[in-house]
Amino acid sequence: MTTTTSANPATPEGSSRLRRLRRTLYRGDPGMWSWVLHRITGATVFFFLFIHVLDTALVRISPQAYDEVISTYKTPIVGLMELGLVAAVLYHALNGIRVILIDFWAQGPRYQRLMLWTIGIVWLLVMVPAGVVVAMHMIGHFR
């Protein structure tokens, strides 16, 4: 009892707050954010897959039903969402390869950070032409 009442915190409130916010070996590191993105993109693609199987199942009902639903995909907003899907799948695929290399390649953990920047660059190098192609399709269709 006496120890708790007389205990004088060695650190003031401010610095303990700072210590809680400090980066650790993993927290706040780019490796953590690559994991967060992997999780978000993976869950996103999973929910898309559910909808995608439902819309494609309409081919079993009638050509008209299928064409009607697919025509809603041929709009500028859904076109942007399609590009977002490409972005999510591409990141998940590239980072997945990085995870596999970290797990199975003896030098993987040493180069994990370099591999993260590498997949970032590859992602950009693929996304820019993909965006241009999707934009060209859109311009050709909505002009």
Partner: protein
């Protein structure tokens, strides 16, 4: 307790970061037997499956996206006739069937991991996993049925 996060000054109380609703049996009764239910080494095989299916899915999923959104006129050429022509070829039928199964199992196992990470009650975990299993079974059965029984001469 080597994590610097948990080092407390004298008299400081540890912050409550999360509430545990269901204590593992081993906490109250350390000699309780380990749970031996289900397939042995299931988690190891699930871990391996994620990596092996992942490698295949890189090609199947990115190839699918490229053909459907980039190639020729992209999504604007897709209609019932396009699907009929495409599934006339056993190659694309096999591609799509493999993509459906691998993506659904890969994504389902990923979501199972997410549910395990964030659900705090055993009952929450059970019901979310049940919902996940039902939706996976529904998607796999429906997708496989549509792919294998597709009829190009169906009339509306």
């Amino acid at each position: 307790m080597s994590s610097p996060d948990l080092q407390l000054g004298r008299g400081q109380t540890a912050p409550v970061r999360q509430r545990s609703h269901d204590r593992p049996a081993s906490l109250d009764n350390p000699r309780s037997p380990r749970r031996r239910a289900g397939m042995p080494n299931f988690e190891k095989y699930a871990w391996l499956f994620m990596r092996m299916s992942g490698v295949v899915l890189v090609f199947l999923a990115l190839g699918h996206l490229f053909v459907m959104l980039m190639w020729q006129d992209g999504v604007y050429r897709i209609d019932f006739n396009y699907v009929a022509q495409r599934w006339h070829s056993p190659f694309w039928q096999t591609w799509d069937l493999l993509l459906l199964w691998l993506a659904q199992l890969h994504g389902g196992n990923g979501l199972r991991t997410i549910i395990d990470d964030y659900s705090r009650k055993d009952s929450t975990r059970f019901w979310l996993n049940t919902l996940l299993a039902l939706s996976m079974a529904f998607t796999l059965v429906l997708g496989t049925y549509v792919l294998l029984t597709f009829d190009p001469n169906i009339s509306g």
